[in-house]
Symmetry: C2
Subunit: 182 residues, 2 copies
């Protein structure tokens, strides 16, 4: 499974692409940061971001897009831009028929480090180790996007198998008297 | 000037198109509401909304898109969807090179009724009168989108003349010793 992780933002939007399945070593395919100029109006920044996300989806053809869930409790001045940036990422995925999953920052931290309260340095350290990189991923911001992708592979792995089983069961003609599978 | 007003939302997104200039009677070109199914995931709802806004922009070719400014202080459960919906509207406008202007709800109410604290019924009543409609615009939700468009024609009129003057001045070769216009 290939997952494109997106840590949304207008000024900096972290992106990380990871290949892997549960129980197998993970492979980093790509890491980067999209930026849009702070002196541009929001509409044009969103348009630039859309084009960058679109290019990334076309280049890497992910099976899933994992986006960090944005909370309204955060910094009020930046939360609108972050919410809109996450909306753009979701839109581009949906346009290509790619499933989108949201994960909270604590889900991501817990998946990667074992603690939902891990700090940035711990997340980066574990991402570096899990992806068997010789040095910490650069730019540093994008480590969160890689952590999102890893989180989805591990958490989403179970969710995806469940969804696949449900879909398979729904598609199977039941033998008379068989116990329902849904 | 033709303005497409958008009152953003995922469940209901009001749209209204108004033609007019300051000091002249206004004309309603279109009014409507975009809806996306609440049982669909957010990514696909955003994609459906994008397609509806895109179709509206292509059908009406507005000179300006006026979007209601979303505040983070509002209902936390719905503000994310509203912010993302407004981002989609802004994105589509930017993609077509159409300027986007944001207006706060109180700016809109003040423009249309004279009071920033007017209620929904007063806004609808004034919109009906200003557009010389024989009955209140339907659906009722879309009256806000028409109010946004009217607000922009009146407020934006002055802003646009200023911008045009600045642009014209910047493009004019100055006579030696002429007083700067910027």
């Amino acid at each position: 499974m290939r997952v494109l992780g997106i840590d949304p933002g207008l000024t900096r939007c972290g992106v990380g692409v990871v290949d892997g399945t549960v129980g197998r070593p993970l492979t980093m395919v790509h890491v980067g940061v999209f930026r849009t100029p702070a002196d541009l109006d929001t509409a044009r920044r969103l348009h630039q971001l859309e084009q960058q996300v679109e290019a990334s989806v076309l280049a890497h053809r992910p099976d899933v897009v994992a986006v960090e869930r944005v909370f309204a409790q955060h910094n009020v001045r930046t939360v609108m831009g972050t919410a809109q940036a996450s909306g753009i990422a979701m839109l581009v995925a949906a346009r290509h028929g790619i499933p989108v999953h949201l994960h909270t920052p604590s889900e991501v931290k817990a998946s990667v480090t074992g603690s939902g309260r891990a700090d940035k340095a711990q997340v980066t350290q574990m991402v570096t180790r899990l992806l068997r990189l010789t040095e910490a991923p650069k730019p540093a911001d994008a480590a969160d996007a890689l952590a999102l992708a890893i989180c989805h592979i591990w958490r989403g792995g179970a969710m995806n198998r469940l969804e696949a089983a449900v879909a398979a069961a729904a598609g199977t003609r039941r033998a008379p008297g068989a116990v329902g599978t849904r």
